[in-house]
């Protein structure tokens, strides 16, 4: 049984979903990052506005190409605009 993707949610993304983390099943070959974001937006409609302005991060690295595949066991983070300081 393939391991799910570990989806990490911060700030407005966490508020929209009501959790800081999700376990999300993807096919063994993985799916493009943009498709995973669309699945999440369908499952959590309140997340959609935040997704439009967020950076997507796979295994700690910003995703530059939307067709980059997210595979079982990966960490996939949603980074809303930053606000440190």
């Amino acid at each position: 049984m393939p391991r799910p993707v570990r989806v990490l949610l911060f700030a407005t993304a966490r508020t929209a979903v009501g959790k800081s983390e999700l376990a999300w099943n993807v096919p063994p070959a993985g799916i493009p990052a943009s498709a995973l974001a669309e699945e999440l937006a369908r499952a959590y409609p309140k997340l959609a506005p935040t997704l439009r302005v967020s950076r997507l991060v796979r295994n700690g690295h910003p995703i530059e190409r939307p067709n980059l595949r997210v595979r079982p066991g990966d960490e996939f983070a949603i980074h809303p605009p930053y606000g440190g300081g």
Partner: protein, 148 residues
């Protein structure tokens, strides 16, 4: 030599950050501290900010900023510290600083570090507000009281 980078739940000390920038040939030392403001928020006032961080990527970006500040401005020592978790109003949430032989590169590097930290490090804050106190109700005039 690498800079001093911290993400911590403990209070930040301005004087400790200053000490990290001391050196016999470092004539220019610039230290910036950001504090949580008790500003108005809705009907109340901010009592604290709650900071959350994506730890691994945040540290990776902070290391990159440190390397970039040294390469661009030629500073010899840097400090980039940020608190996470709950930071009460009045306390320091972030310190950025740099030291060099002269003031110009130290100013430029410190400015670069704080500006880029806010723009590129995955840290988020949420306001925690204390509701405004209700004004005390004035005593009812004697004539308006109901008879015993």
């Amino acid at each position: 030599m690498s800079g001093s980078l911290r993400l911590t739940r403990r209070p930040l000390s301005f004087s400790a950050a200053g000490r990290a920038l001391l050196g016999p040939d470092l004539g220019g030392v610039v230290l910036f501290a950001g504090r949580v403001r008790a500003e108005r928020s809705g009907s109340g006032r901010v009592s604290a900010l709650e900071y959350e961080v994506h730890l691994g990527p945040a540290l990776a970006v902070m290391h990159r900023l440190d390397r970039e500040a040294r390469a661009r401005y030629g500073v010899e020592r840097t400090v980039l510290w940020h608190r996470v978790g709950r930071v009460p109003a009045g306390e320091i949430s972030v310190i950025a600083g740099a030291a060099a032989g002269h003031r110009a590169p130290a100013f430029a590097a410190a400015r670069f570090l704080i500006d880029e930290l806010k723009r590129t490090v995955p840290i988020w804050k949420t306001e925690r507000a204390r509701p405004a106190r209700r004004p005390r109700r004035p005593p009812r005039p004697a004539a308006a009281r109901s008879p015993d």
